[in-house]
């Protein structure tokens, strides 16, 4: 087995275990934001798409690469935006009386 492949396999396996350890600690409460966030993160395939589209390796590579850039960029933008939009809505109970009062101040920034 060549060294690059071996290193890559190590990274893959270790990252999977790390993912398991980190993600099992995400409560059910946040599983929908979790899915949209990991979705945005895995759109890092944008990196590969950019190189393919921009390397000037012929029409086929440029066309397929550009479509891939478009798809991945859509996921990056929409994934982060919707995750944040969802998380903004999760609020703790304020003082027992005023559940309706806007609590923007607490969560903004």
């Amino acid at each position: 087995m060549d060294e690059i492949l071996e290193a890559s396999l190590y990274i893959f396996v270790l990252a999977s275990f790390l993912g398991y350890a980190v993600i099992t600690r995400v409560p059910g409460l946040l599983h929908t934001p979790l899915m949209s966030l990991t979705n945005a993160l895995s759109a890092i395939s944008l990196v590969g798409s950019l190189i393919l589209a921009g390397a000037g390796e012929g029409t086929m590579a440029t066309v397929l690469g550009s479509i891939a850039v478009f798809c991945a960029m859509t996921n990056v933008v929409s994934g982060f935006l919707i995750t944040d939009r969802m998380l903004k809505m999760f609020k703790r109970r304020e003082a027992p009386k005023k559940t309706e009062a806007p609590t923007e101040g607490v969560n903004a920034r």
């Binding site: 993912g19 798409s49 950019l50 086929m60 998380l87 809505m89």
Partner: protein, 465 residues
């Protein structure tokens, strides 16, 4: 020099991604997690754009602008009820990107692809394209464009298995000899077909599992792309996404007491048992006025919301009802079953959107011990997740599924449109218990009526509570 900078930028991004997920473990730190993920992503993109390999910018910029233009409305305008569809759609986008990159890489490098790279490339393409069509079908089902009921015929499992195996065999041949270019388009075609076949046979109740599974496939495909391009950041991000999807699908399977095989090959929820004599049994019904008396006289209420509540857009009215009850000194909690809603955690988001504070939301394990001390449970648009047959009736298709033990409460009020059965097509014993009363009607309307009735009641003395 530039190479070193880029490598370090990728490493930094990978660290950001792990921290982003770590901070997602609590609502108070979750938004920091999103910021961190964004920073990592921005750094990685900038590092890539300045790399020496990129020589043409016009198409990239166009694609980035168009992607952003579509991403903004998909991120900001999609209603929370439609988040499952949007998620499925983004899985299909991500998978398509991986599939297309894999395809281009194959044609660019086919003479000198070594076996291990070809294996990774083959898996990237197969998983990419099957997730692409599979997720499109899933999104269509969730949106109601594609038939929600599973499409099933005899021998379907064998046909599906044969389709998948044939794709893998072709990949195997290509590994042995990458120059057989005529085999590559069939691999793509078969994968596309398999994605459709896989999801079209799965019913609405299993959507949370299927979305999670497709999430895992999309992540795996991205990770394989990292192997092909020798990009460690991609391998890590894909592996994180893949394990997240896998964990969620395991949680969903457990919550329904099903195995993977059973979800993928079982055709659960296919039997049409909506009509039948069993539903003619007598139930006790109650009107909004009586409901308001009962609620007002109680000390503790647990609300069990199901997808029916969200479908009726009743979550705001329900929250309003709970506010009124809280003001009257009643202790109100929400019990959330893991499969409530159409994707993992969906119900929590819908309730959070209706301004329900998250510390009022209790999951299955946290709430089940409390039902015995609860005066009234209000079941709104939920059915299978409160069916005691899951505990008692070994012949029931949902036997063994963990449920909310609402039948242990002093009394139960079920808000329901009619006596139709739930997703699983199973009759619910809960509705016929002596302690259960049915409040028939559209959830939004009847809950609104209960609120009106409550407002007419004299203020309750809360001093003694």
């Amino acid at each position: 020099m530039r190479e070193t900078f880029i490598s370090l930028a990728y490493l930094f991004a990978a660290g950001c991604f792990v921290l982003a997920l770590k901070w997602l473990s609590h609502p108070t730190t979750a938004r920091r997690g999103v910021r961190t993920g964004e920073i990592g992503m921005a750094v990685a993109i900038v590092a890539t754009l300045v790399s020496a390999e990129i020589v043409e910018y016009q198409w990239i910029v166009l694609a980035l602008v168009l992607g952003t233009a579509l991403g903004i409305p998909l991120g900001l305008l999609v209603p929370m009820t439609a988040v499952p569809q949007r998620t499925a759609l983004s899985h299909s986008f991500g998978a398509l990107a991986a599939g297309l990159v894999g395809t281009a890489e194959y044609y660019l490098r086919k003479p000198d692809l070594d076996a291990s790279t070809m294996v990774a490339l083959g898996l990237e393409v197969v998983f990419g394209f099957l997730t692409f069509t599979g997720s499109l079908i899933a999104a269509g089902k969730l949106q109601g464009i594609v038939m929600d009921r599973p499409w099933i015929y005899k021998g379907q499992n064998l046909v599906n298995l044969a389709i998948l195996l044939s794709a893998l065999v072709l990949v195997g041949v290509l590994v042995a000899d990458p120059s057989k270019t005529y085999l590559f388009p069939p691999v793509i075609g078969i994968s596309l077909v398999y994605g459709i076949m896989l999801v079209i046979r799965i019913g609405g109740a299993d959507m949370p599992t299927v979305i999670s599974l497709l999430n895992s496939c999309a992540g795996l495909s991205a990770s394989m792309m990292g192997f092909v391009l020798d990009n460690k950041l991609l391998i890590i991000a894909g592996a994180l996404d893949g394990s997240s999807g896998l964990i969620l699908s395991i949680i969903m399977c457990k919550a329904m007491n099903r195995s993977f095989m059973n979800v993928l090959f079982g055709g659960f929820g296919a039997e049409d048992t909506t009509a039948g004599a069993i539903e003619m049994r007598p139930v006790r019904s109650v009107d909004p006025e009586e409901t308001s008396f009962l609620l007002d006289a109680s000390r503790s209420v647990v609300v069990v919301p199901g997808y029916g509540m969200a479908a009726a857009q009743a979550q705001h009215k329900v929250r309003e009802l709970c506010d009124v009850l809280t003001k009257r000194g009643v202790d109100v909690k929400y019990a959330i079953h893991p499969v409530a809603g159409r994707m993992p955690g969906h119900m929590n988001v819908l309730l959070a959107e209706a301004n329900v504070p998250y510390d009022q939301l209790y999951d299955l394990d946290a709430i089940n011990s409390e039902f015995a001390q609860t005066d009234i449970v209000m079941v709104i648009g939920a059915n299978d997740v409160v069916n005691p047959a899951a505990r008692t009736d070994t012949t029931s298709p949902i036997y063994g599924m963990p449920i909310l033990d609402v039948d242990q409460a002093a009394s139960v009020i079920v808000v329901k449109r009619s006596m139709r059965s739930g997703f699983a097509g199973v009759d619910n014993e809960l509705f016929y218990l002596d302690k259960t009363q049915m409040l028939f009607g559209d959830a939004k309307t009847v809950v609104g009526e209960v609120i009106d009735e409550l407002s007419r009641l004299p203020t309750r003395e809360v001093a003694g509570v």
